[in-house]
Structure formats: C-alpha cells, structure tokens
Amino acid sequence: MSLGKTEVEYISRLAAIAVEENEVDQVAAKLSNILDLFKQMEAADTEGVDPMAHPLDQVQRLRADVVTEVDQHEKLQSIAPSAENGLYLVPQVIE
C-alpha cells in the first residue's frame, strides 16, 4: 500500500507535525513501508486469539480516591510561555 502526497499532508495536519514540501516524498515512502509491514502481519492466522491491548500481560492497578496533590500552579506556570491571573494564556481561539 502506498501513500500519496495528499494523504501525507492530511495525516501531518491531523498530527500537527510540519512536513516540509521537499520531505513529503520521503515521508510517504517511510509510511508506506510501515503499512506494508502491517499488510504482512495481516496474513498471520489470528483465529481465536484475543486482541492485545497492551504488550505487558498485566492488569491495571487502581488508586484509592483520596486527594494527594497540592496546588503547584505557580511552579508549573513559571515554565509556561505565558500566564496571567492563574490562567495559562494561548493565542486566541475563535469560537
């Protein structure tokens, strides 16, 4: 399976990863290779095999519903590009 320029552009936009014009062909080829690998894997007989949700064959540990975190917003906001009155600031999002 091979991906074209349009698909690479679409995927890069969804993933918010900038792909330069001169990189598109190379990225398309790499992604196509990955898809080819999946294609090969599809040939394996998986009849009666449960889909694997996680490579570790373990079960999720749970946490008690108790507040353990304290307010650290000043510390966290000291490394934010912009913050004011306790709010993180980002370029305006038009609704």
């Binding site: 999720q60 519903d65 353990t68 307010d71 912009s82 305006q92």
Partner: protein, 477 residues
Amino acid sequence: MSWEVVIGLEIHAQLTTNTKIFSGSSIAYGAEPNTQACPIDVGMPGMLPVLNEAVIGKSVMLGLALNAEIGRKSVFDRKNYFYPDLPKGYQTSQFNYPIVGKGTLEIEVDGVKKTIGVTRAHLEEDAGKSIHGAVPGQTGIDLNRAGTPLLEIVSEPDLSSAKEAVAYARKMHELVQYLGICDGNMQEGSFRVDSNVSVRRPGEPLGTRAELKNINSFRFIEKAIEFEIERQIELLESGGQVVQETRLYDSENDVTRSMRTKEEANDYRYFPCPDLLPVVITEETIEAISASMPELPDAKRARYVADFGLSDYDAGVLTGSRDMAEFFESVVEKTGGKDIKLCANWMITGFSGALNKDGLSVKDAPVTADMMAGMLNRISDNTISGKIAKQVFDAMWNGEGSADEIIESKGLKQITDTGAIEALVDEVLANNPSQVEAYKGGQEKMLGYFVGQIMKASGGQANPGQVNQILKAKLSD
C-alpha cells in the same frame, strides 16, 4: 407522506469522586484557576496516569441498573485532537472495550411505556476550560476540570420524539442521582445531554443527523429538538439537504444555529493507551457492587403503590428524588406507619409545596423528618386538626420550633372537651335564631354555616368531628 423522527442521546455524567480519574487532584467545583491541576493533569512529559478505583464501582453500578453487560476487561484508548484545553493532545477515553456494554432503560410518555436501548457507557476524562475575552487577543486556559471523570452514556437511536428524548434524559438523570454516582447538577455541567437528531421517510435508511450540544435544562432540550425536527423537515421538503454538524440552541429566539467552527474531519485516530493497562473486573467485585446498590426508582414506586396503597401519581412525586423518598420513608417510620396516606398528603402538598415556593432542595428544608413526624403524630392523636396543622407547619418552616413547642406556645391544642364544645354550640345557636328556624324549616345547608361559626368562635381549635356530632344532637332536640 409523513416523516419519522430518529433521536439518539449522548449523556456525559460527571462521577461523584473526590479526585480526578487519573490523578490525586481534587475535583471540587469553583476553585481558583489551575489550583487543582497537577503535573499529570497539565500533561507534563513523563507523567503516568493511575486509575481511580471509585470510577470503576460507580460505572459498574450504572451498568447493573441498566441490566447491561459489564466489560470484564475494559481498555483505555487515546482520542487524538488538538485544542488548547486538552494539554496532552489526546483525551483518554474508551473505544472498543467500554466498561458498560449494551443495556436498556424503560421510559413512559403519556402513559405508554417504551424500552430504550443503551448502546454503551464508557469512561473518559473531561477537558479543561477555555476562557475567552479575559485577556484581550488571548484565550485563558483553566485546567482544573481537565481529568475530571466522566461516564459517557450513549443511547441507541430508539427515541422518536422530543418528548421521548426528554423522558429518557430525565429518567437517566434520576437514576444516576439515586445511585449516587453523579450529582446531576446541569448548571455546573455535571450532567450534559447531547442530542443527535435526524428525520427520514418511514422505511428509508437513516437521515443525516445534526448534533445539539450545550443545553443545560430539560425544557430547552425539548424545545431545541422540536425546533430542529421542524427545521430538517422544512429543509428536506423544500429540496435541501441536512448537513452533519454541531448546532447550538439559542433559547432567547428558540432556534438552533450552526456552531460554525472550522470543522476538522472527525478523524480521532483512536489507539490503545500504552500508559494504562487493561482493567479487569472480577465476578466478586460485581457481586459486591450489586449488594451495595440502593433500591431503584421504578422498584420504589411499585412498592409504594403495592405496600403503602398510594396512587401512581403520589408514588411518582414521592420518589421524584432519592432525598425526597428517604425523607418520606423516614416520616412513615417515625409515625409508626399508622397513617401513610396522611404522611403522603403532607409530603406532597405541605412539604413539596413549601420547597417549590422557596426554591429549596430536600436537604436544605428547614423542616426535618423528625419535625414532620412530630406534627403528624399530633394530628393522629387529635391534639390538632388538619387545619391547625397548616398553621403549625408554616411556623415550623419559619423556624419557630418543633410542632409540640408551637402548639404549646401558640395555644393551638384542639378543644376536645365535650362541655367546652357544647358551650360554643349553644352560644352560636343562641346568637342565630333565624338561621335555626330556617334549618328546622328544612334548609339543611344551614348546618355548614353553624359549623363555620362554631369553628370560628373556637379559633379553629374545636374538634370538627365532635362539633358536628354535638351540633346535630342539639338541633334535633
């Protein structure tokens, strides 16, 4: 040719936990911005989520109440999209293996019962809040809400009118509150209803749907759906086409409007979250949760009708909320179950009426179950009449004390002394000779007039039964 309406609802119920779904940050409402957002919630690199055990129990409880399949192995996935209030760039949700599978909920509209399918209910985290306009040209982000546990309950497209949709939403609203898994506060966004509305010709495939979002009252949900149905039918009949989009309801003008955001394709590229392992729910866990479930509203209503001899209507009002039902049952217990009908009447007219008038919830009522029972016991033992009880109730509501204290301080004790009542009767008859003549001449309706005068003369405190008896005896002399 007629149109068929097809509606499915997605309800987000915020679970009543102390902390977030994947971190130990508090989810208390109304805190200062970002004071309840820890490194996990703000999406710091390297942070790992740890699942809150409370969300499992609460979700399974809803699943059991809906007679649904419980996901014995449930998996968290990443739903990928970019928005500033979603700092990780994905929402942790569930896709292929939700915690609650197929179930049902029975609704009733205009006396007709209908079973609505529930497709699934899955756990997910809420996003933060974007605050527009606080700083000119910029958007402020408050991540206190980020990571708040939500249970998204998805219905089958089984609802065929705005009324049915609202009946389903109300029923679910009642259920989650009975179970104590969600506080149901629609103003604060703890219970959000999104409606998928489409129309089609009978027998045809499903039409294109529009999604109505961010409506925070049942009344407006009904109106918004009604408007949307009309809009789609008019559009189709005039040769147009419905566009799949999100629409917002404008309650001032009673119309829905396209949200007009830059519509990104709904391509969320779900994949299993590598930071979380599958959640396994054992049979023992399910049994323990099942044993801890409160009586559900439908079962409660049926019991009130069968055991208490109440009407369907009364049973419906009394089970309207778990708080109301528990208050009522407590009053019944404290009055020894002697006159349940009297308890029910006072709950519905006196208590409920006063709550509505003052806009209070059961928990905030100035009259407690103890006080209510105290007053009803004084009606049952003839210390006060039903009429005087109204006065006592109002005084209790105004914080003037218990029924006994009020009866004592206001001297409201019913007059049951035969001699005292006879004196009152004699006095009234002596003062109204012409009316007595009229009565004796066949005008029996004068009896009511005498009773009224006697009650008035007693300040409303004479026992009405005794008054009637003594009055009739005197008049037939």
